[in-house]
């Protein structure tokens, strides 16, 4: 054999061997990653972006396998030349705090021209049923404009919200706005990155994969408030998990909100049906697995799960052997009936992780059993859902009956009440949903953040302002357990605010002051608000000091009569931070007849003591004299007031009122701005405004002391007051916050 040939042969065999080797190794690497998880190459330093790591998830990683792969990568170029979404964002890296130095403000970009026509054009019945975005987004924008954070100056804005509808990003949907990306990237403050922008979204991705980040918008560094977020794709403490709201969801709260009809069957922890579900199953495709296997759990007695295959136009094409049976059973129960008669209601994933059902179930006072693995529940940043929902696991579907049966009755009752509370406080209207979104963002920017207690117990985070205090002791709502003991001194004494309006003169003022001083130290602090028309000059401070002694601090404001034309209003409180006691006693001195003889002073003192002891037992209520009852006058078609004895009490009209210091703060805060405006417009409504405020916050009626006095039922007295009932309610954004008490507090003789 010639050497040449041999060499050629060797060379050939070497080449073959090399080729073979390469093939085999390549094949190995093609096959093995599927079979086994290999140790991944290490990278050094913790700052490398984890999402850029290759995916080594095992085949059993059913749920993450298809999620958002396309838009996760930082490096992937996009049609817009920027990374589509910066997954590494946190408030510290992707948010420009310096824009928020003036405080938390929100700017809404104007609607693109011609937008209105487009919405109307596609607004037919079927789309409305699909829950399309048009009206919902309008409601969201309106809610933002109604909020105290709205600004119309983009230069002062901290947060920017697009004017174009971004809720429906399903490209097959008729509401899909193809030009949204171009519009948004063209915004004046977008700057190619979208810092400080807030984008709302309800539907992302489309058939068949429903990629979570398939928004068709280069969101980049914008904050997403998105429904159906998954745990892996939400940028923790940056994005917000938004509830999936139906287009029929009301803008403002319906008639019963905080005072939502209490559970009628509390005594029975368990409703007749243990667990129920009624809804479509998709038979095939994303989200169908759980729903298709539900029938295994149905026992025909207390676990009732109804599904139908009728979904879309050509459902027959995909129907399976159970479809006929399922479709036939489907009509057996009415959906609402089922929800209201069930202890637990199943909330399985839809095509996306979230579904409308979640809010519907909460509204019905049914405890949601969430069957949607990895779903980030709405507003999970602040809401402790473990108190209200059962977090089931799709992998343990068949254990579900055992799980819900193992929950003790006391827990069921707690959960149901929590469901009702969360729904009424945060989800009952688009306005409150948007408010929660904004308050969460505002808290992130401030160093004062509401603790979870404020969000997760009554009256809820929207009615508690951290600017007042972060200490639960200073609020009237939170019981003492569990938590730190509260300093005892604050609830032992009273701060009195004495209003001296028109007709108030020195001797009357001095009489009332005397009654306040001789109480064994009950009153610690007195504010005198003086605006009398009889004597423009109030008594001198030295006179007042001499009268009340050393132990009581006294301050005087007002003076100068009613020169500015404004009558004295009983909501004009002194600066709340100067009020030192939790109990605030408001006295309208000009409503008392003068002079006050000695023995009446003693009776006034008795009255203060009674008011104080009643208030101390229930610090969240307003306590006072002269109850009135509101009712709807069908004849005049408006709210009216009555003081007829044989009815109830829903508001207080008397000259003495005791309430918690927090309400004094609320009344002067931006929260009650509209309420103050209404109260100043209508004559005699200032006092009513207090009852409205307290009932709106707590849902509880005021406590009336002593009995009615018929002299108060004069029509002219009530006449002017009943005109403002509706405006006061509107100012608080609720249908009618007042609730009725049927008890009256009298002293034990």
């Amino acid at each position: 054999m010639p050497v040449n040939q041999l060499i050629r042969g060797r060379r050939r065999s070497l080449a073959t061997a090399l080729l073979l080797g390469i093939c085999l190794v390549a094949a190995t690497h093609l096959i093995l990653p599927i079979l086994s998880p290999l140790p991944q190459p290490a990278y050094t330093g913790q700052d490398a972006v984890p999402s850029s790591l290759p995916d080594y998830a095992q085949p059993d990683d059913l749920h993450t396998a298809h999620l958002g792969r396309r838009y996760l990568s930082n490096d992937q170029p996009s049609p817009w030349g920027h990374p589509v979404m910066d997954m590494s964002c946190s408030m510290h890296t992707c948010f420009n705090f310096s824009r928020c130095r003036q405080g938390f403000t929100v700017y809404v970009y104007p609607k693109p021209t011609g937008e209105g026509d487009g919405v109307l054009g596609s607004d037919d019945e079927s789309n409305a049923e699909l829950g399309g975005g048009g009206e919902t987004y309008d409601k969201i924008l309106r809610a933002i404009r109604l909020s105290p954070y709205y600004t119309d100056d983009p230069e002062k804005a901290c947060i920017f919200v697009p004017g174009i509808d971004t809720l429906d990003r399903d490209s097959l949907s008729p509401r899909f706005k193809a030009k949204a990306a171009a519009v948004i990237t063209g915004y004046s403050h977008w700057h190619g990155r979208g810092e400080n922008h807030l984008i709302f979204n309800l539907y992302a991705g489309t058939w068949p994969n429903y990629y979570e980040h398939e928004l068709g918008i280069p969101t980049n560094r914008a904050i997403l408030a998105k429904a159906s977020f998954s745990t892996t794709n939400i940028r923790s403490l940056f994005d917000l998990s938004f509830p999936l709201v139906h287009s029929q969801h009301p803008l403002s709260a319906p008639a019963q909100t905080v005072a939502a009809s209490p559970e009628p069957y509390l005594a029975k922890a368990r409703r007749p049906i243990l667990l129920s579900f009624k809804g479509k199953r998709y038979v095939i495709g994303s989200g169908s697995a759980s729903r298709n296997s539900l029938y295994h759990l149905d026992n025909g007695k207390d676990i009732l799960l109804f599904t139908t295959c009728k979904h879309g136009d050509n459902w027959r094409r995909y129907s399976d052997s159970r479809c006929a049976l399922d479709n036939a059973r489907y009509g057996m129960w009415d959906y609402d009936n089922l929800l209201h008669n069930s202890t637990f209601c199943l909330v399985p994933r839809g095509r996306r992780l979230g579904s409308y059902r979640f809010l519907e179930v909460l509204q019905a006072g049914c405890i949601p059993v969430v069957l949607s693995n990895d779903w980030e529940l709405p507003f999970s940043e602040v809401i402790d859902w473990r108190r209200a929902a059962v977090w089931a696991d799709e992998r343990q579907l068949l254990q579900l009956p055992d799980i819900v049966r193992s929950i003790p009755d006391w827990r069921v009752i707690q959960m149901r009440q929590q469901c009702r509370f969360l729904y009424s406080a945060y989800f009952s209207s688009v306005q409150s949903i948007v408010r929660v979104t904004l308050e969460i963002l505002a808290d992130r920017i401030s160093y004062l953040r509401r603790p979870g207690l404020f969000w997760n117990s009554r009256p809820g985070g929207l009615l508690v302002r951290p600017q007042f205090s972060l200490n639960p002791c200073y609020y009237p709502f939170y019981g003492p357990r569990p938590g730190p003991p509260c300093p005892a001194g604050r609830v032992e004494h009273v701060t009195a605010v004495l209003f001296c309006g028109p007709g108030c003169h020195n001797s009357l003022l001095l009489g009332v002051l005397r009654s306040l001083t001789g109480n064994g130290g009950l009153v610690r602090q007195i504010f005198v608000v003086w605006r009398s028309s009889l004597s423009p000059m109030p008594p001198s401070m030295s006179t007042l000091r001499r009268l009340v002694g050393n132990k009581i601090r006294i301050a005087l404001s007002g003076g100068g009569g009613s020169a500015d034309g404004n009558p004295l209003s009983l909501i004009e409180m002194p600066d709340w931070s100067l009020i030192s006691q939790d109990a605030v006693l408001l006295i309208n001195a000009s409503a008392l007849s003068a002079p006050i003889p000695q023995h009446w002073q003693q009776q006034l003192q008795q009255l203060y003591r009674l008011a104080f002891s009643v208030w101390r037992a229930q610090t969240d209520r307003a306590v006072g004299l002269q109850g009135g009852l509101h009712f709807y006058d069908d004849f005049q078609e408006r709210w009216s007031l009555t003081t007829a004895p044989a009815s109830g009490v829903s508001c207080l009209l008397g000259p003495v009122l005791m309430l918690h210091r927090y309400y004094a703060y609320l009344m002067s805060s931006p929260f009650a701005e509209r309420l103050r405006r209404v109260a100043s417009v209508f004559d005699g409504c200032d006092l009513l405004a207090w009852s409205f405020l307290v009932s709106h916050v707590t849902g509880r009626p005021p406590a009336q002391l002593l009995e009615h006095r018929t002299a108060w039922a004069q029509p002219e007295f009530l006449g002017s007051r009943q005109l403002c009932l509706q405006p006061l309610a509107n100012a608080l954004g609720s249908a009618m916050p007042l609730t009725v008490s049927r008890a009256r507090m009298d002293p034990v003789s």
């Binding site: 190794v25 799980i403 200490n471 003068a594």
Partner: protein
């Protein structure tokens, strides 16, 4: 040619062999299948009887973060099938014996590979990086950032200082508030101070800003002491108790115990955070006692911000820190238990404590009472449902029982022609532990019930007074009026109606009628308690029997006349609110049974309840006895005289 073929074949054979070896090596790195769970292991037994547990703990001296599957969440990578729902809602945990795997060098990798796959790894941050096939293991570590932390899956640990004594806070009592002024406003022990901090220090001055550095000399002592700028040496971390606030940089959050040092000395951490994940954030609400700065530049305005915190709030935060430190950080054992608590809450989220509960002081050991109020209605309930009167009889005077029943069904409005008392739906007689059967319902033994009012009898086996609170299925209303057979005297119809109305507005409280057996004379710190007839929510009956310790219930039954105290204390403990009392005690308190030494008995009873419940729950200033009378608007003219001549209350219409 043949030789060439042979060469070829040889080459192929060699390559194939090489490939097989390569394949074998790859396969050898694969993780063996997980064991199938069967029985659970109770953690606190410490026994070695290991059945396959639901969670396996593996201590690892160091860990390379990059080896994890970053897509893991609780739902995708946690093997839920190993966690069976058996009785209690508890997971089982197995801890690998340490000596088997823990090598000082930490480099002998094969030992880990041959082990079972680890589903939980407890990791202390350390310089050693070990490559482990732990891609689906949960990792508990002190050095997570928002990027490296797998939400719902990993666990963020605190960095504990090595070699410190376990618990510094032994001697604190749960109820004290510390609002003392500390000499230094802000202390800071940073490795290197950035410019804004230097500026702040210059503006605050050394007296209010204590900058602590490592002492220049004696390197061995650096852990225990720090030096101020003027050279003064302080014991660390005790020096932090001189400061109200402690500046903590994000660089200090990992690898340094600065955060816990501050918390342990109740120095409020002011954290300049980057993207750190806070230790045990699933249990601990850091907002309650720490301040987070968003940007370094915010340090400049820090002084203004810090002075805004009132002394009361500082005291509140200190209290929170003591509670949290004692509960979760005081010792490695506390840290480990917190990790297990987090795991348990993930597996059984529907039984997890609320944030409020997990941030409060630990409840008394073994007390299953849920510390959050079970009822939190605020709106008045609807009266449509009515109430059920439960009358317990122990074979006293039958005629008295009949009289009680008769007065129950007397119409509420005195003198009116109304056929039945409003709202009464049913009378349930608890025939308690009597040998003879109750007279049959039919046959004229019982007073005739007005239409709409049912009468039922339950016969109980044992003569236990606690039976009066049992949530019988026959009770179909939320409101229960609990009576004893001789309570006829307290049943003034108008007062019953009044009490019911008051209860509708306060369904989370007890609303009592008639006599009160006040032990106030003997124990001035304790509010008077309700005895006898009272309205309560049926739910409290269930809680009474479900959550109070059995021994306490037995004790109550053994001494008698104590069950109502227990009910009062339980409700006060749960809600923090006192009972409401209707009626005029001065007139009716004589009805409190002759010949019984009630006060001594009551004192015994109360102290025993206090022993079980931790406190009788009636001392706090917020728990107030309603010492006034509540009247329904419907019946209110009794006090007309009181204000008859008080004309000054009239509205003075000047406008």
């Amino acid at each position: 040619m043949a030789e060439s073929t042979r060469t070829m074949l040889g080459t192929v054979a060699i390559v194939t062999l090489l490939w097989l070896a390569y394949l074998a090596w790859l396969v050898s790195q694969r993780v063996p299948p997980p064991p199938v769970g069967s029985t659970r292991l109770v953690l606190d037994t410490g026994s070695d009887e290991v059945n396959t547990p639901s969670v396996v703990i593996h201590p690892v001296p160091g860990f390379n973060f990059s080896l994890r599957n970053m897509k893991c969440t609780y739902h995708t990578c946690f093997d839920i099938d190993a966690c069976r729902l058996v009785g209690e809602h508890r997971i089982g945990v197995y801890i690998y014996p340490r000596r088997r795997y823990y090598t000082p060098g930490g480099h002998r990798l094969f030992q880990f590979r041959k082990a079972y796959p680890v589903r939980v790894a407890l990791v202390r941050p350390g310089p050693t990086i070990i490559r482990l096939p732990l891609s689906k293991a949960m990792v508990a570590s002190a050095s997570f950032t928002e990027r490296t932390y797998r939400s719902t899956f990993d666990i963020a640990l605190p960095t504990l200082a090595a070699g410190r004594p376990d618990d510094q806070t032994e001697s604190f009592s749960d109820d004290s508030l510390d609002s003392t002024e500390r000499p230094v406003l802000l202390a800071s022990a940073p490795p290197s101070a950035p410019e804004p901090v230097k500026r702040l220090r210059r503006s605050l001055g050394d007296r209010r800003f204590l900058q602590l550095n490592f002492c220049p000399s004696a390197s061995a002592a650096t852990e225990e002491s720090r030096c101020a700028r003027n050279g003064t040496r302080y014991a660390y971390p005790d020096v932090l108790s001189k400061a109200t606030f402690c500046l903590v940089f994000y660089t200090q959050l990992t690898g340094s115990a600065a955060l816990l040092d501050a918390v342990s000395r109740q120095c409020i951490p002011v954290i300049l955070t980057n993207t750190n994940v806070f230790p045990f954030h699933e249990l601990i609400e850091w907002n309650r006692f720490s301040i987070r700065l968003n940007r370094e530049a915010d340090v400049g305005s820090l002084f203004r911000m810090l002075t805004k915190f009132s002394r009361q709030y500082v005291a509140f935060m200190r209290y929170q820190m003591r509670v949290i430190y004692k509960r979760y950080f005081a010792s490695p054992a506390a840290v480990a238990l917190a990790v297990l608590q987090i795991l348990n809450d993930r597996v059984f989220p529907y039984m997890a404590p609320s944030m409020q509960e997990s941030n409060g002081p630990q409840s008394v050991a073994g007390l299953p009472v849920s510390p959050s109020p079970p009822l939190f209605h605020t709106a008045p309930l609807n009266s449509n449902q009515g109430y059920t009167a439960v009358v317990l009889t122990r074979g006293g005077s039958f005629s008295k029982l009949i009289r009680t029943l008769a007065s129950l069904v007397t119409s509420g409005a005195t003198g009116s022609a109304s056929p039945r008392p409003p709202h009464l739906r049913k009378i349930l007689i608890v025939w308690n532990g009597l040998t003879e059967a109750p007279p049959p319902l039919l046959g004229g033994h019982w007073p005739a019930m007005p239409p709409g009012v049912g009468l039922e009898i339950v016969q109980t086996g044992d003569d236990r007074l606690t039976n009066r609170f049992f949530p019988y299925d026959q009770i179909e209303t939320d409101a229960v009026l609990s009576l004893l057979d001789d309570d006829v005297d307290v049943l003034v119809p108008s007062e019953v109606l009044l009490a019911y109305h008051v209860w509708l507005e306060n369904p989370d409280r007890l609303v009592g009628l008639g006599a009160d057996s006040s032990s106030g004379g003997q124990q001035p710190s304790v509010s008077p308690l309700l005895a006898g007839a009272a309205f309560y929510h049926k739910q409290y009956g269930a809680l009474f029997h479900d959550t109070l310790p059995t021994e306490l219930l037995d004790y109550i039954d053994s001494i008698g006349d104590c069950e109502h105290f227990a009910m009062n204390c339980m409700v006060a403990n749960l809600t923090g609110r006192g009972a409401v009392k209707i009626g005029q005690p001065s007139l009716k308190s004589v009805a409190a049974g002759p010949g019984r030494d009630r006060t001594a008995l009551a004192a015994d009873c109360l102290s025993e309840i206090g022993r079980y419940l931790g406190s009788v729950g009636l001392e706090s200033p917020r728990r107030v006895w309603m010492a006034f009378k509540a009247d329904p608007v419907l019946y209110g003219t009794a006090y007309a005289n009181w204000t008859a001549n008080a004309d000054f209350l009239g509205f003075n219409s000047v406008t």
